[in-house]
């Protein structure tokens, strides 16, 4: 129990005592409050720059001839007023994961004129203030079906910098990704195809069976990875099943898929979550041929792609080969030692 709860102000006899009690109460509340809540941040120290944006990622479908408004909210959570300049640029999906490469230009041609005007303006954002940017997208009726990968960037710099002897002044930019699919049809046009399974063909029986799955979206719209990878032993029995994490694969892009947790009821006692995009199966001992079968759950499902891995006890064989050699070597050294004596 905190000491402040034991103070009964009404029972205290004198107004001055009441004042002291209130002061004590306030002090005790101040003392038990988190340090960050009472820190007075100077202009050139902590919390100088703190921006948040919502939503971080949006997938929009716009029909030609119709208009859609997408709202983004940026908030200044720092201690200084920032001058903010919004702009839209393209990004390209990187091959290995969810990373993206920002481009210099903006290829989306269907921004409404009022949005173009707003993107030319710079605005001040005070501490604690929010700003809502409405992007109006209006592709004409004759617009071609295409997916656009865009990042809305808000470049922000403090209005006043502290004086410097020498060194860099820092500014920042925060982005929100906007994936826009211009199409008259509502059906999903994503088509996932297995590009590659990366796994070593030969592994040691005492090591883990690890592999990576690279998917390609050959369709015209972003779609969710859905499906699984099975590991079968030489008896064609499933020994491990990995559901794919439902990552988005953008149109005409590659993505290394990630394992989710194993499917319920799957015979997978040796599942080890390995993070990132590596699938890992590690029982006590691997032996013989293993088959990795990859299947996507979608209307465009192809035949499971099969990849084979052979597990042999190389490390044990090495020990069997080396043991007699080491034995005879030890015997020889012993004999030499005895002879020298």
């Amino acid at each position: 129990m905190w000491p402040s709860r034991d103070i009964n102000i009404q029972s205290l006899p004198h107004p001055l005592t009441k004042l002291v009690a209130i002061t004590c109460l306030a002090l005790s509340v101040w003392l038990i409050s988190p340090p960050t809540a009472r820190a007075q941040a100077p202009s050139d120290s902590d919390d100088a720059y703190d921006l948040s944006i919502s939503p971080p990622v949006t997938y929009l479908q716009v029909e030609p001839g119709k208009t859609v408004t997408h709202a983004l909210t940026i908030e200044n959570k720092g201690q200084q007023t920032l001058m903010v300049s919004p702009k839209i640029i393209d990004f390209q999906a990187s091959d290995s994961g969810a990373g993206l490469d920002l481009q210099a230009e903006n290829s989306f041609p269907y921004l409404a004129s009022q949005t173009k005007a707003v993107l030319q303006e710079t605005f001040a954002l005070n501490p604690g203030q929010k700003y809502r940017l409405n992007l109006v997208l209006s592709p004409p009726l004759e617009a071609q079906e295409k997916e656009y990968h865009l990042t809305v960037l808000f470049a922000a710099a403090p209005v006043d910098y502290p004086r410097l002897e020498a060194g860099p002044r820092i500014s920042g930019a925060i982005g929100s990704n906007l994936i826009v699919f211009v199409s008259p049809q509502q059906t999903n046009k994503g088509r996932l195809k297995l590009k590659e399974v990366k796994a070593p063909p030969l592994i040691d029986s005492l090591s883990a069976l690890t592999f990576q799955v690279l998917a390609e979206n050959v369709g015209s719209q972003a779609t969710t990875a859905s499906g699984s990878a099975h590991v079968l032993n030489w008896q064609k029995k499933t020994v491990a099943e990995f559901k794919f994490f439902p990552d988005m694969v953008l149109a005409n892009s590659l993505r290394s898929l990630r394992p989710s947790l194993p499917a319920t009821g799957s015979a997978n006692p040796a599942f080890e979550p390995s993070g990132e995009s590596t699938f890992r199966y590690k029982p006590l001992f691997l032996i013989g041929p293993y088959t990795i079968e990859v299947t996507f759950q979608s209307a465009t499902t192809q035949e499971p792609l099969v990849f084979r891995v052979l597990a042999l006890p190389f490390s044990l064989m090495l020990i069997v080969v080396l043991a007699p050699v080491l034995y005879f070597l030890a015997m020889y050294i012993t004999k030499l030692t005895l002879a020298s004596k």
């Binding site: 050139d44 120290s45 902590d46 919390d47 100088a48 720059y49 703190d50 948040s52 944006i53 919502s54 939503p55 971080p56 990622v57 949006t58 929009l60 859609v68 408004t69 997408h70 709202a71 983004l72 908030e75 959570k77 720092g78 200084q80 990004f91 999906a93 994961g97 969810a98 990373g99 993206l100 920002l102 990042t151 960037l153 470049a155 710099a157 910098y161 502290p162 410097l164 002897e165 020498a166 060194g167 860099p168 002044r169 820092i170 500014s171 920042g172 930019a173 925060i174 982005g175 990704n177 994936i179 994490f245 990552d247 988005m248 990630r258 947790l261 979550p273 993070g275 990132e276 995009s277």
Partner: protein, 249 residues
């Protein structure tokens, strides 16, 4: 005998029914209304929220009628967030820089000056994030004295893409080290430095932190270092460094 047995049975049934009524939780439903709206049959779910353990993070909603986000937050003319998972559409991506001015002090020949700050990212998006960095130009003296060149490190091996060891204080230049979460692998320890990508020379900005996973307060500490050669004037050198933080998808 038969009456007694019937009485006992009826009494037991009544008692059981009473216990059942007393033990059953009341229905968690309510009529939600104000002057301008009425929501009929609004209900509260049984459980919802974020759960985590050493090897997992999960969000759940149990017992929600019609769970799921309906409409696109911020875009549609309506948005209904029933069930806990609607948070994914209204989530935020946050980027924090602990200091906006790194004072390296007055620079003198034969010694390096350093200064540092933190970059912090928070995002719930499963696609992760990337932070890029670039400089506007190399450190430039206020009087027009020659620039401090970007460092090439002790063995003239580092650039804006690859880090190298830079501890020899007689080697001038300007560069940075980063330690902490999700940093490039070539920053092996605090002695490894890189140049910033030079925007004035049209060099492409480079990633300094990135991850494909959910990020909660992921922090990198950037240390800036500068030193001058004998041909350069001591004094005040400045440039601008920009960080660009973008979420994954």
């Amino acid at each position: 005998m038969r009456i007694n047995r019937t009485r006992i049975t009826v009494t037991a049934l009544i008692a059981g029914a009473g216990l059942f009524v007393a033990s059953v939780s009341p229905a968690l439903a309510d009529l939600l209304e104000s002057d301008s709206y009425v929501i009929q049959f609004g209900n509260f779910n049984m459980t919802a929220g974020e759960k985590s353990g050493p090897s997992y993070n999960v969000t759940d909603t149990v017992g929600q009628t019609g769970a799921g986000p309906f409409g696109q937050y911020g875009s549609s003319t309506y948005f209904v967030g029933s069930g806990f998972q609607y948070i994914y559409q209204i989530d935020t991506f946050s980027f924090r820089i602990s200091r906006v001015a790194i004072d390296l002090g007055e620079l003198f020949v034969g010694s390096h000056n350093t200064g540092s700050h933190n970059l912090t990212i928070t995002t719930r998006g499963a696609g992760g994030y990337s932070i890029y960095a670039y400089e506007l130009h190399p450190l430039r003296h206020s009087t027009g004295s020659p620039n401090i060149p970007d460092t090439t490190c002790d063995s003239a091996s580092c650039n804006q893409v690859t880090a190298g060891v830079w501890t020899n204080q007689s080697i001038p230049g300007f560069g940075f080290n980063i330690t902490g979460h999700d940093i490039p692998a070539d920053f092996i320890d605090s002695t490894y430095y890189r140049q910033f990508a030079d925007n004035s020379a049209a060099e492409a900005m480079q990633k300094v932190m990135s991850s494909t996973n959910i990020a909660s307060g992921r922090t990198g500490t950037v240390t800036y270092k500068a030193g001058i050669s004998g041909s350069q004037a001591a004094g005040n050198y400045q440039t601008g460094v920009a960080y660009v933080a973008v979420p994954g998808y």
